[in-house]
């Protein structure tokens, strides 16, 4: 009975109720939309970062990341690979030899970071193969050809087919070693660092130059099963590790990106509190207006035996009805809005956020757990908004309510 009364009372002032519930619905829409955009953007950036060279995790010899010493190759590579390959979710891995080197052509000399890779393996870990703008990607794991970034090619005035010399320090004697290469292709990834100072050469060739036959500095890995945050579902510790080496997730390799994705929750919480606070005050105001309009009626209701507690519940129920109705409207708007943007995407391509350049359109992502959370919050805040009006009504003597309106 109280519910029926509350529901009908809600619709006495249709315009006011419709407007109030529209405010709640739009608030909900704003929350859901912002959230889905944040999540979409995070996914986009994480995907971007892990797709271009980083991978989901990397293995190095302990100390290599700090010292960048060519001598610090992975310990017991066969065992390390065997351990890694037993991980059920390992999707791809690329063995890399890494060294700082000098690249010289007839156009000049430039310091570079040279990466010795197996072209086939590397395809699954990075996008150099897709980023070739002139010439061809590497073909074999050995051979005298290399690819480099477009900025570097401009500095050295190079075109595919040109010859150049790579100079590096070998790991055994510490002496300079040189090798003649032919430029097979030029890539354009959109990342400044890669495009201006990175060179990819066949791994075996680089191993020979550095006198590191059969040894590598880094294994980059991708996994098939990831959590929503983009982290491998199964841990990489324990049996997948090998002695003297360390495996680090992208979250440790790029802490700033990880921090940013984790900030989403905090930002959303702050935004949510501000938004819902404003909405709550609006609802309180609406309920109070309704209460004062119907004061005499509440007087009658209380006089004929409705207890203070029941009368107060009447207002709370009215708020719950309002909240439920608004949430239905809000969810409809949210799903429609998200679907619309999920279809078309939002074009932020080329914008750089914390070192990551956005390469694709951003598509909002609906996380169902959150979609469930916000309606609960909306209804929760609506109920909180009704506490003060309910208390007023609870506390009001029926005779006061009756006197307020002159007959």
């Amino acid at each position: 009975m109280l519910w029926k009364l509350a529901w009908r009372n809600l619709w006495r002032n249709r315009t006011r109720t419709a407007l109030t519930s529209l405010v709640i619905a739009i608030g909900l829409l704003a929350m859901v939309f912002t959230d889905t955009m944040f999540v979409g953007m995070n996914t986009n950036m994480v995907k971007n970062a892990t797709n271009s060279m980083l991978g989901h995790a990397q293995m190095h010899a302990k100390g290599f990341r700090d010292e960048q010493d060519v001598k610090l190759t992975l310990n017991d590579l066969d065992q390390a690979l065997a351990n890694l390959d037993s991980h059920p979710h390992l999707a791809a891995r690329s063995l890399r030899v890494i060294t700082h080197a000098m690249l010289s052509s007839s156009g000049g000399v430039e310091p570079v970071l040279s990466l010795g890779v197996d072209p086939q393996q590397e395809q699954f870990l990075s996008k150099f193969d897709e980023a070739i703008v002139d010439g061809d990607y590497l073909n074999f794991v050995s051979g005298q050809n290399l690819i480099l970034g477009w900025k570097l090619s401009e500095k050295l005035e190079l075109r595919p087919g040109d010859r150049l010399v790579l100079t590096a320090v070998d790991a055994e004697s510490g002496e300079m070693a040189q090798e003649l290469f032919r430029l097979s292709g030029i890539f354009k990834t959109g990342e400044g660092q890669m495009d201006s100072s990175m060179v990819l050469v066949p791994r075996q060739t680089l191993q020979q130059i550095l006198k590191l036959e059969g040894k590598v500095h880094q294994i980059a890995m991708r996994f098939s099963q990831l959590t929503h945050d983009g982290v491998p579902v199964l841990p990489l510790s324990g049996q997948y590790q090998s002695s003297g080496n360390e495996v680090m997730l992208w979250t440790e390799l790029m802490p700033s990106l990880y921090m940013m994705t984790q900030m989403t929750d905090i930002s959303m919480a702050i935004l949510g509190i501000i938004l819902f606070l404003i909405i709550s005050l609006g609802i309180t105001n609406t309920l109070l207006m309704g209460l004062y309009e119907r004061l005499f009626e509440f007087g009658v209701i209380k006089s004929i035996g409705t207890t203070p507690w029941q009368t107060a519940r009447l207002i709370v129920y009215e708020a719950i009805c309002l909240g439920l109705f608004s949430v239905v409207v809000g969810l409809a708007l949210s799903v429609a809005g998200t679907a619309l943007f999920a279809h078309y995407g939002i074009d932020y391509i080329g914008i750089e956020i914390s070192g990551i350049t956005i390469q694709e359109k951003i598509y909002p992502e609906l996380e169902w757990s959150r979609l469930a959370l916000y309606p609960f919050l909306s209804i929760g805040f609506t109920i909180i908004a009704s506490v003060y009006p309910a208390f007023k009504l609870w506390n009001m003597l029926p005779i006061e309510a009756l006197r307020k309106r002159k007959l």
């Binding site: 009626e297 009658v300 209380k302 006089s303 004929i304 035996g305 409705t306 003597l397 007959l407």
Partner: protein, 230 residues
Amino acid sequence: MTETVIAAKNLTRTFGEGETEIHALKNVDLEIKRGDFAAIVGPSGSGKTTLLNILCGLDTLSSGDVQVSGNSLRQMNGSQLSRFRREHIGLVFQAYNLIPVLTVLENIEYVMLLQKVAAAERKERVRNFLVKVGLEGKENRFPAELSGGQQQRVAIARAMVSHPDIILADEPTANLDSETGGQLLDMMKQFNHELNMTFIFSTHDPHIMERAKRLVTLSDGKIVSDESRN
């Protein structure tokens, strides 16, 4: 000997303080027996409304005591008074008695729902009283679709349907023309006669007073006469 429904002793109600102090009721003693059909009359400001409000616990006493069906109202808190009114008192106001968003049927049912009367019993009683107040077939109308007289009939039906010990009505006919008011009073009197329902009502209207079996006259917060008639 008939049972006493209301025993009010030495009722005093003062509003305000000091210079602006108003004695709305001064040492009023009143006893109402089951089956009474009493009119409270007196000039405007004589304390009629104040008296009725005190008798049902809506207003508080400055001193004295009221016993209704053996319950002293002085010690009760808000929700006790609510429950007391729900079980023992039927109230009819001058106008706007009904809850506008509820139908005639739902309005009459309302107090029984609070009393948790079983559904079948509720239906039976509502139908019964709709016939008695002559509003058969109008149970699904909303109050706004009824005339003032019809609305007051519904209010009386609502007050009676919960089987209270007494019905208090403050100027129930004041918003009605004298013919409609007279009919309403005749109906109340019939209930008084047939069901032995106790009524106390206040009025200004001499035609209405005529129908009372007992006439309590207030003046300046005091009972100046209390006569039984036939």
